[in-house]
């Protein structure tokens, strides 16, 4: 079910979410805890820097980017072992300075470097993928106040209408009771 509202020209538009602005990090932090306790799921807190402790305040667990990093590390290490072993032992076996073909200690530096390299790639691309970026347009950018302040000094809570606990009458009241200002319905298009 899509939720509609009237815009300034009187046309009805589909609503993406309801947004509210808060005056400080402390205010948005307290509000986030209340919204979390109300059982909302499809919502987010926006700020121009990561707020310390906000994950717990929103009821979010530990990020699992680290799992992707670990997978990247394992891939890098395996790649380095194979990359060095296959040529040195099988394709192009050559005795250098009396060392064995499979000279593990001499392979360590490249094993380390490729582990780091693949971990870095996995971490960065994994993080952007989990965050669903790049995504150049998003309905939240339809909210002008948000665009002006979110990456400057604003603090916002945005609750999507898709949230099962969203209610056209109660949710704005809840946000108002938490000390929000500029409570706005954000159109989808």
């Amino acid at each position: 079910m899509s939720i509609l509202a009237k815009n300034n020209e009187g046309q009805s538009v589909e609503i993406y979410a309801i947004g509210a602005e808060f005056s400080s990090a402390a205010a948005v932090f307290e509000a986030a805890q209340k919204v979390r306790d109300q059982g909302f799921k499809w919502w987010d807190v926006y700020s121009s820097y990561p707020i310390h402790g906000m994950d717990a305040a929103m009821g979010l667990g530990k990020s699992w980017v680290s799992a992707i990093s670990l997978a990247g590390a394992a891939t890098g290490l395996t790649t380095a072992v194979l990359l060095q072993t296959i040529p040195s032992v099988f394709i192009y076996p050559m005795i250098v300075q009396g060392k064995p073909y499979f000279s593990l200690p001499a392979f360590f530096p490249i094993m380390f470097e490729l582990t780091v390299l693949f971990t870095a790639f996995a971490t960065v691309f994994g993080m952007f993928t989990i965050n669903l970026l790049p995504r150049l347009h998003h309905p939240i950018f339809n909210w002008e106040r948000f665009c002006d302040k979110a990456t400057d000094d604003g603090f916002f809570i945005v609750i999507e209408v898709a949230d099962p606990r969203y209610s056209e009458t109660d949710t704005p009241k809840l946000l108002e009771s938490l000390g929000a200002s500029n409570i706005t319905l954000i159109p989808r298009d």
């Binding site: 121009s48 990561p50 707020i51 380390f112 870095a120 790639f121 993080m127 965050n131 979110a150 945005v158």
Partner: protein, 475 residues
Amino acid sequence: MATNFSPEVEAYAKAEMTRQPLVLHKRNLAWVTQKICGIVEEPTPTWWWIAFMITASLSVLTVGGVAYLISTGVGVWGLNHPVGWAWDITNFVFWIGIGHAGTLISAILYLTRQKWRTAVNRASEAMTLFAVVCAGIFPGVHVGRIWMVWFLAPVPQANAIWPNFRSPLLWDVFAVSTYFTVSVLFWYVGLVPDLATLRDRAKTKIRKWIYGILSLGWRGGNRQWRHYEMAYLILAGISTPLVLSVHSVVSFDFATSVIPGWHTTIFPPYFVAGAIFGGFAMVLTILLPFRAIYHLEDIVTVKHVEVMCKIILLTGTIVGYAYLMELFIAWYGANPNERYAFYNRALGPYWWAYWLMMFCNVIAPQLFWFKSLRTNILIVWVIVQFPNLGMWFERFVIIVTSIHRDYLPSSWGLFHPSITDILTFVGTFGIFLTLFLLFVRFLPMIAIAEVKAVLPEADPHHHAEEETHVHSSQK
């Protein structure tokens, strides 16, 4: 706990023990945004164009020198037998060492929770990248036949020849290219939220477009920050051993050989300490003028400068210890060739380079014991020129004085740089500064989101009334 001190003593103790804030004058979030974005958004200042033209012209020297080298051959450098490595590798190690300060600030100081890093990490990381760019030129072109440089890469090719994975020179290829790639990724991840800030402030369509694409549509929701912070932590975690490994691997190029003066186990830690030492000197050299030009005194405070001076003092002293330990081991090891190598360094034909290095790297930074000197920006800038010079001479001393007289006296010789050597090196400063000027012009030179996060008001448990008592006793 009850105390019976008089109010004056208590006020004094409080004033002494209160940490100086990282951003002065109680600046707020909007001020930070405006201050740093303003640098990028203002019309290009005249001084910038003048500086840019000078540095861009200088960089032509490297381009020309490299073109001349490739079209003619390595004979255009002053290399000879026995000095087969000279300015090329000296410049390479010099530049790659400079990069280390940026990664140290961005990674190691992050893991150790040194919050002051936020003011200087962006510019230092940029400096890292540009220094590695300059460094990469030399090993790339010193191979002689540059069209065969791809033989360094382990790729299947028609001759079925593979690189020797037991060679430190190949490790170096992997170490330096990994270092550059990871530094770029780390730098870019840090930039994304700040690019979003620039996007949201952009007035023209083209700026909005470019910063919009570069910021990937960053929204700054906590669900994004959560993963972002984890990624940042992991990048810092892997960059920490990486930065220590890069110069260690560079030092293996020397240490695994059997040349007297190179064949020492102290090289990896000694090179890493020297790299951080030289890197911080360059950070201060390049940051202090921009701090003055853009009036960033509230963000890059005297405290920041002082802390960096202390790091220079520490690492300079470690380097001094390494110099002396090398001498001691040469004597104690009782190897006549090793003993002669160090005797020759200090008293041979390149004695002046050795003592210049000693003075610049060990003696000059000792001035930073004095707080009055550490806190005087102009004096700091002058003093850090000594490490800049000294660290170049350190590499020159290690490389040239070791190989110009090795085991066979009949093949001893001297090295004289050619004009191409000199101009190619001078040009790298042009490249370095040109890239830095472009960076300052188009990207936020201070990490906006990170500086905001260390402001008192950024703390969700901060309440405005708490700070009233702190400053009343000061001044």
